[in-house]
Symmetry: C2
Subunit: 155 residues, 2 copies
Amino acid sequence: MTVRIDETDRKILAELQRDAGQSLEEIATAVGSSKTPVWNRIRKLREAGVIGQQTVILDAEALGFEATFFVLIRTSAHEADWQRQFLKALQERPEVQEAHRLAGDIDYILKVRVRNARAYDAFYQALISEVRVHNVTALLSMEEIKSTTMLPLDG
Amino acid sequence: MTVRIDETDRKILAELQRDAGQSLEEIATAVGSSKTPVWNRIRKLREAGVIGQQTVILDAEALGFEATFFVLIRTSAHEADWQRQFLKALQERPEVQEAHRLAGDIDYILKVRVRNARAYDAFYQALISEVRVHNVTALLSMEEIKSTTMLPLDG
DNA sequence: GCTGAAAACTTGGGACA
DNA sequence: TGTCCCAAGTTTTCAGC
């Protein structure tokens, strides 16, 4: 499960994060190695699960997803059964882009991407009808200042 | 700037989101078309900026990024100059994966990914020394329940 | 705006230092 | 482990429908 990752692996991962569409040769040049060794490292990192999904970042606004909400949830129900149901509800709803269980006062935070405020309300009503929650605060994003999936691997 | 996107475009985008490493032929089959038309559509969508960065999702924990914080920021400074400086600070810090300006009571939310709690503290100290903020609440993630960049394009 | 095919490039793997 | 090289497959362009 744990993989030993050296400097070259880290450089390869940084290149792949930056642009996964590059040819093997470009990556090899960028990291100062050549095709076969780079290819073997990539294969190993993929097998180890360090490299996951290869995807494309789409322009959410251009596709009509104009509202992003961060939802802070407090609950009084802490039983295993409630939690299982809540997790299942989140996994099933594609408008939930992120969900984290938190330490402290607030129990969960969600990032919810929807077409408009009405679509958020529909989501909210569906959620609270499926699972009991104690208190919900929705924070509406006015402007996405920054959004990246890149990890800083160069340090 | 605005592109007309039809059903076929939407299917292509959904396929690319799901797996950007597929061959043109696989995508063409999946959407019920053939290589050349699919290729022309992809090119147009790329030019229009609907398709952005092509990347790879890495396993943050395997790479030693073990702490995620959501940071809620209230400020009393609403001058353009302060805002410019704050935005610049966020853009420059690679540990900030998301930053949104919010409507209402809380002014900004950040998602910050760091190696450990000490690294978060270093980030926090650096941030408050660069820009004046009124009130900061950090929410520590205990568990990433869900994380995706995919938009639900099938509806 | 599609089909089909040709040209250029890329991948994935084998033989060898 | 890395370098060189090849066959198979893929991308990109283009003429014709």
